[in-house]
């Protein structure tokens, strides 16, 4: 059972790493929102699943069942609110008139 937990946790951390690298490397605000969304959903799901499985099978009792259910509640809540938050930020960006990054900007930056 510990192997399952470590594999899930490693996968969750992998998605966190990829999301954070995406947030740093991407050239524009709009393109940075994509890994930020991925960070919330996939990374959180896997790492929370790992912790919930560990709690459930560490000492199986009513308390651990409720705890892992509460962790899944956190995951469900973040799944509902993360798109709303990303949409709100995106709307603020569009409303402010921020132009998305295009290929011309790349050539402009290099010259």
């Amino acid at each position: 059972m510990n192997i399952v937990v470590t594999v899930l946790l490693a996968a969750g951390l992998f998605f966190f790493l990829v999301g954070i690298i995406g947030i740093i490397r991407f050239p524009d605000f709009y393109s940075r929102m994509h890994p930020a969304g991925m960070l919330d959903t996939m990374g959180l799901l896997l790492s929370m699943l790992a912790i919930a499985v560990y709690i459930l099978f560490d000492h199986f009792s009513y308390l651990s069942v409720f705890s892992s259910l509460k962790i899944l509640l956190i995951v469900i809540f973040v799944y509902i609110t993360s798109p709303i938050a990303s949409h709100a930020i995106m709307d603020a960006g569009v409303r402010a008139g921020l132009q998305p990054w295009t290929r011309e900007d790349l050539t402009k930056e290099e010259t």
């Binding site: 960070l39 959180l44 929370m48 705890s67 809540f77 973040v78 938050a85 709100a88 930020i89 603020a92």
Partner: protein, 92 residues
């Protein structure tokens, strides 16, 4: 098992430093929002891992849930606050 959780939480802490880079260096205010949102999303599993390390998970689950709520509200409030036309980014 505790070692794995310890290394995972240290790794998440390192990732938050990287996210802090985007929050500081972000050219526009909205990039800083993305960095803050990323840090908020990273603290939720970090809280649970710390709870596991302290062998008192039930308390930390509630703290993580409350933090998820607060992170969402903070992002919505700051996005609504930054809905103004000018001054969000350096106009070309």
């Amino acid at each position: 098992m505790n070692q794995i959780f310890l290394y995972a939480s240290i790794f998440i802490g390192f990732l938050m430093l990287l996210a802090m880079f985007r929050a500081i260096a972000g050219p526009s205010i909205l990039d800083r929002l993305v960095g803050a949102n990323a840090i908020g999303s990273l603290t939720i599993p970090l809280l649970l891992l710390i709870g596991l390390l302290f062998h008192n998970v039930e308390m930390f689950i509630d703290i993580a849930l409350a933090y998820a709520l607060l992170n969402f509200i903070a992002v919505i409030a700051s996005a609504k606050y930054f809905k103004k036309k000018k001054g969000l980014f350096d106009e070309p």
